[in-house]
Amino acid sequence: MNLAGLLFLILAQFFTGRGLLGMFNIKLKPIILFFVSEMIGVVMFSFIPMIIEFAHVPITKTSVLTSICITTVLFAIIPFKRYDFSVLKPANIKFTTPKLYELLMVFLLVFLMIPSLWRGFLYPAYSRDVLSGPEALAEYTLKEHSLDNSVFTVNLMKSTPNLLKPPFITDLQIIYKMFVHPFGKTWLSIIVVCFLVWLYHILREKLHPVLAGAGVLLLLSIPELYGYTYILLWDYSNMVFFFTGYYFLMKHFKTKQQNIFLFSCLMFGFATFIRLDTLLFIAPTGLLAAYILWKDKVKLSKIILNVALLGIIPFIFYFTWVEVFVKYYLPLNLSTVSELNLNPEHGYFEWFKAINKGLFFGGLNYVLYGLYIYIFLGVLIAETIFFRKQLSRDAAIPLIGVLIVYLCLPAMIYATAWFNMTTAKRGIFKAFPLMLLFMSNSTLLQRFSQLITDYENKKDKQKNVTTAQVKRKPNQTGRKKGKKLAKQ
């Protein structure tokens, strides 16, 4: 492994992602800013080889390195004035000693991640979908310096759809094979780690550290999902950016800041660039956005504009790849539009039934996802029975997001003739972090969290009272007051 190359990419990705966040004026806590910037930097770099190809420049180490440097410098400089350097002052750096249970949780999560990182590093890409598409293209791009390479001259009767998928994996594999390791793949581990750290932070904002850690543990230990933290495929990254889109959409609903809304649209765009069928899930999200903005008495013209942007921005990513790159830059003279399957053998309701039976409520559900879906359903049922009147918007939006994924999943049959239970099995991933976001905002878990916090803080109150008693000379009245406080 080329550690210098990895360090260079980590820094470059951070500055690029940080620059994009700065351009949209997104403010995050310093440490979290690093992880979110890194995650976004990775997906931004996935455009570089495609743009080089657009410019008809050979994809070589020099051209890629130059492009990375230009991108990094541009994105670091443009929003430079918006950077808040005061966070770097030693006086502003606060460090709180973590509690034992926090250390335990962090230790456990790191322990669980080690095999994933190791497998990600040690073994080459494995899945058939990647080997017959992005991985082959990336390997021959390194040899022939073009995305339009000899892979397209091979008999492609059974492989065409994988070669025509957006170049998210192909491009990142090219960059990481060039600069880090002959197997590439390290970028996936970067996305996974950054996402989990950010997710912990999101949960931590609402919940006690033990519950936040437990939430991340629940997600990380979903057997099927864990596999895709080191098996190279589109779905984990797609899940991450679909969730990011939702998270910032929720932020927009709270703040009504247009920059956050645009950033959310861009994140949905990135998710679409990773998997084109994400558009299916974004369309109903537009309806959700329209409804919430209408409820908030936002002007109709602005609602229409925002819903249009939410559709148009991700669609640009779809259009650029499908209608421009595949049509005019790839040699097959094919279009992924031909992949649409408007008259499938089994329709929406048959697939809906099959997915419910096979993945959500039976079949392989338990083996693939462990108890995760059942825990979510348990919280949902408890919330519906006991706290339905207190359901906050922060809980309702991710819940609707889950519903959108649940209802739209079978509709993927119309997007591709290659849709099957395996596609659905991984398509469900998009709902998982949203389920967690719902649970973290549910009254049930927030009360439980408060209960733990109160229990923990009781001691401090007692301690404070005792300390105060020791400091001053105790008298009868003071003792009585102290006892009263202690009882409270």
Partner: protein, 159 residues
């Protein structure tokens, strides 16, 4: 360290223990996490090529060897005809020969199958002999007919 934090820590440990004793999570933990150390030391010293062999298994080794063999032939051979599944699966049920693009990725070997348009352009073929894949050159149309008949006659559906 105050007592209440310690109690929360202990309860957390108990909760985690219970969670990882639920059969599905226990299996996952044993299969994906705890078995990690059993072969990690063997794998550290593996070369890139050994790791490819380990991960991609028999098809990778098979295609790489054929390619190496083909490179020694004169005149050079360009396209290999692979047998249909119904033919080779009955001899080697655990092996799946990869599709052409994956063969090309593995080794640079161009392959085709009997249901493809370019089948008659193949100048080499693979067949099974004594439960082993063998490579044979195809030099004429009659050679091609012979191998296609052989596949057909020995396919599972015709047996």
């Amino acid at each position: 360290m105050d007592t209440r934090s310690l109690i929360i820590t202990i309860l957390t440990v108990i909760a985690i223990t219970i969670y990882f004793n639920i059969p599905v999570h226990k299996t996952w933990l044993n299969k994906r996490i705890l078995n990690f150390t059993t072969n990690v030391y063997d794998h550290i010293g593996m070369s890139l090529e050994q790791r490819r062999e380990y991960r991609w298994g028999a098809p990778y080794v098979f295609f790489r060897n054929i390619k190496q063999h083909m490179d020694t032939l004169d005149p050079p051979r360009k396209l290999v005809l692979l047998p249909p599944e119904l033919y080779y699966k009955q001899y080697m049920p655990n092996i799946t020969l990869s599709e052409p693009v994956i063969c090309y990725y593995y080794s640079g070997l161009r392959t085709t199958t009997v249901d493809c348009d370019d089948v008659r352009e193949a100048d080499g073929c693979v067949y099974v002999h004594d439960s082993q894949f063998m490579y044979e050159t195809i030099d004429s149309a009659s050679d091609m007919d012979k191998i296609l008949d052989h596949y057909k006659a020995n396919s599972k559906e015709n047996k």
